[in-house]
Amino acid sequence: MSVKPAPQAADLSELEKPILELEAQIRTLEVDPGRSKEREKLQRKLDKMKAEVFAGITDWQRAQLARHPRRPYTLDYIERICDRFEEIHGDRAFGDDSAIVGGLGWIGGQPLMIIGQQKGRDTKQKILRNFGMPRPEGYRKALRLMKLAEKFRRPILTLIDTPGAYPGVDAEERGQAEAIARNLLEMAKLKVQVVAAVIGEGGSGGALALGVADRLLMMEYATYSVITPEGCASILWKDAGQAPQAAAALRLTAPHLRELGVIDTIIPEPPGGAQMDWDGAAQNLKQAVLQAFAELASAGPEELLETRYQKYAKMGSVGS
C-alpha cells in the first residue's frame, strides 16, 4: 500500500495568493492621491514579500511558474523587444503551424529572424496554437525561415516555450521525428549567429528543435527538460502525483542547467516572476539577447560552426 506523501511544498497558487491580494490592495489605493504614503508602504511590503517568497521556491514551483497562465509568451516578448516585426507563414510544403511563429524582426535597429513556439492565452487561442505544441510543419517552417536568414546573413533568435512537440497521429504521419532531427542537423550548419532563449517551458525534443545555438539563454524561472515532471513521475514512479519529486530530480531549472553546462546565461526575471511584469521581463530578455549577439558579432561563418560544434561536443557527463 502506497501512501501519498503530503506535498512537501505548497502549489504555486498558494504561494502567490498573499502577493496577489496585496497587489489588489495597492491598486485600490492608486485612485486616491491622498493615500500615497500608505500605498508606498504597502509597495515596499510587497517587494519584500516577493523576494522572500521566491527566494525559497522549490523546483516544482518553478516548473509551475514556467507554465504560469499569465506568463508572457513569444509574441508578447516580440511585441516588446522588437522595433518592428512582420510575421511570415508556412513551410512551403504542407501547412502553416500556428504553434510556431516566425518572421522578420528588428531589435535595436538590427534586422534579424525571430522564431518561437507560441502558446494561447484563452481557450480559442489555446486551440489555435495547439497549446504551444508544434507539428512537423511548424518545425519545417522554422527551418525554412532559418535558411532564409542564412541566405541574407541575418542572425537568428529563437524563443523556446513548449510543453513538447505535438504527440498526435497526423504529426507522426508527417514525420515529427524527422522534422525535429532535420532541424538539429541544419541548425548545426547555419552560417549565421544563432541565439536561443528558453522563456517558459523547454519541453524536450520539441524545444531542442529550435534550440541548437551559439548561445543558449534561459529566463530565471524557465525550465528545460528531457521530459515533464508529470511524465517522468508516471513512468519512473508509476505515479504522476510524484511530479514534485521528479521536478527536483530532473534538475530542470536554470540554476541547475547553468551548473551542468547546458545553458550559458540566466536572464533575471522581475521580482515574483515574469508574469508579474511583462515589460520588465522583456527588457531583461532584450538586453541579454543584444549582449549575446554582440559577443558573437565578430565571428566568421567557419569560426561560428566550429565553436558551435565544440560547444555541443562538450555536453554530457562521461566517466572513465
Partner: protein, 287 residues
C-alpha cells in the same frame, strides 16, 4: 433522355471576366455586388471599399502602384513568333498580328528597372491583356534577362505574376520556359540576391509551378486564385464541387505555400520593408 438532365452549371471562366474595371460612373463589385463610385476606386488602387475585393489591374497601374515615378522598360524589342505554325479555332500567327495591331506591343510580361521607395530593383509584371498573360518563349526570355539584369546590378528582382499558364500555342517550348526562368532564379539564389514573388489573381498552371512559387518570399494579394490545375479542371476530374475559398490566397497561406497575404494598398510598404531586412538595414519608418 439527356434533354431533362440539368446541365452542370459552368462557372464563369476566369478568362471571360473583365480585366480592367469597366468604364462608367458606377461600378458593381464582382464580389459583393455593391455599387461603387468609380472615382473612389482610383483612390483605393482598385480595391472595393466595401468588401476589399481586388479588381484586376493592368501593367501600367501595377508599376505605378509599386515603383517610384520614372522607370525604364527593358527588352521590349522581343516579339512572339509562331514556331509551330499553330492553328486551333484561331491561328496563333493571326492572334499575334491582331494583338500588335491593337497596340499590344509589350507581350505578356513587362520588365522594367526602377526604384521601389528609393531602392533599385528589376521588376517584371505580367500582362493579362496579352493572351491571358500566358507564358511563351518571349515571357521566358524576358524574365530570364530580367534575372540577369538583377544579377549584374546586384539588386532585388521582383515578379508580379498573373497568368493562365504556359502558352499552348508554342507547345513544349513554352513548357521549357518554366525550367529556363527557374534556372535563372537559381543563379540569383546562389548570388544571395533577393527574389520576391507577388502572386495576383489569377496565377495558375506552369507559372504557378515555376517562378511564382520560388520567391524568397511568396506574397499574394487577397483572394487571388492561385493553383496548378484550374478549379474547372479539378471539378471536372473529381466530379465534385469545390469548397468556397479553395485555391485562394488565404487557402494557400494556410497550406504553407504563400508566406503572407498583403493588400494592394500595403504592398509597396511591405516590399520595401522586407527588402530593407534582406539588405541588413534598419526598418523604414512606418507611414
Amino acid at each position: 433522355m439527356s434533354w431533362f438532365i440539368k446541365k452542370r452549371q459552368q462557372k464563369t471562366a476566369v478568362e471571360a471576366r473583365t480585366v480592367r474595371v469597366p468604364e462608367g460612373l458606377w461600378i458593381k463589385c464582382d464580389a459583393c455586388r455593391e455599387l461603387i463610385y468609380r472615382a473612389e476606386l482610383v483612390n483605393t488602387r482598385n480595391v472595393c471599399p466595401k468588401c476589399g475585393y481586388h479588381f484586376r489591374i493592368g501593367v501600367e497601374e501595377r508599376l505605378a502602384s509599386l515603383l517610384d515615378p520614372g522607370w525604364t522598360v527593358l527588352f521590349s524589342h522581343l516579339r512572339s513568333v509562331d514556331p509551330l505554325g499553330f492553328v486551333a479555332a484561331k491561328s496563333y500567327a493571326e492572334q499575334l498580328r491582331k494583338l500588335v495591331e491593337s497596340g499590344q506591343t509589350e507581350e505578356a510580361v513587362v520588365v522594367v528597372e526602377g526604384r521601389l521607395e528609393g531602392r533599385e530593383v528589376v521588376l517584371a509584371a505580367m500582362n493579362w491583356d496579352f493572351l491571358a498573360a500566358s507564358m511563351g518563349s518571349v515571357v521566358g526570355e524576358k524574365l530570364r534577362l530580367g534575372a540577369e539584369r538583377a544579377l549584374e546590378k546586384a539588386c532585388p528582382y521582383l515578379i508580379v505574376s498573373c497568368s493562365g499558364g504556359a502558352r499552348m500555342q508554342e507547345g513544349t517550348l513554352s513548357l521549357m520556359q518554366m525550367a529556363k526562368v527557374s534556372a535563372a532564379l537559381a543563379k540569383l539564389d546562389r548570388a544571395g540576391i533577393p527574389y520576391l514573388s507577388i502572386l495576383t489573381d489569377p496565377t495558375t498552371g506552369g507559372v504557378s509551378a515555376s517562378y511564382a512559387m520560388l520567391g524568397d518570399l511568396n506574397i499574394a494579394e487577397p483572394k487571388a486564385l492561385i493553383g496548378f490545375a484550374g478549379p474547372r479542371v479539378i471539378e471536372q476530374t473529381i466530379k465534385q464541387t469545390l469548397p468556397d475559398g479553395f485555391q485562394r490566397s488565404e487557402f494557400l497561406q494556410a497550406h504553407g505555400m504563400v508566406d503572407k497575404v498583403v493588400t494592394r494598398t500595403e504592398l509597396r510598404r511591405f516590399l520595401a520593408l522586407t527588402l530593407a531586412w534582406m539588405a541588413g538595414e534598419g526598418a523604414p519608418a512606418a507611414e
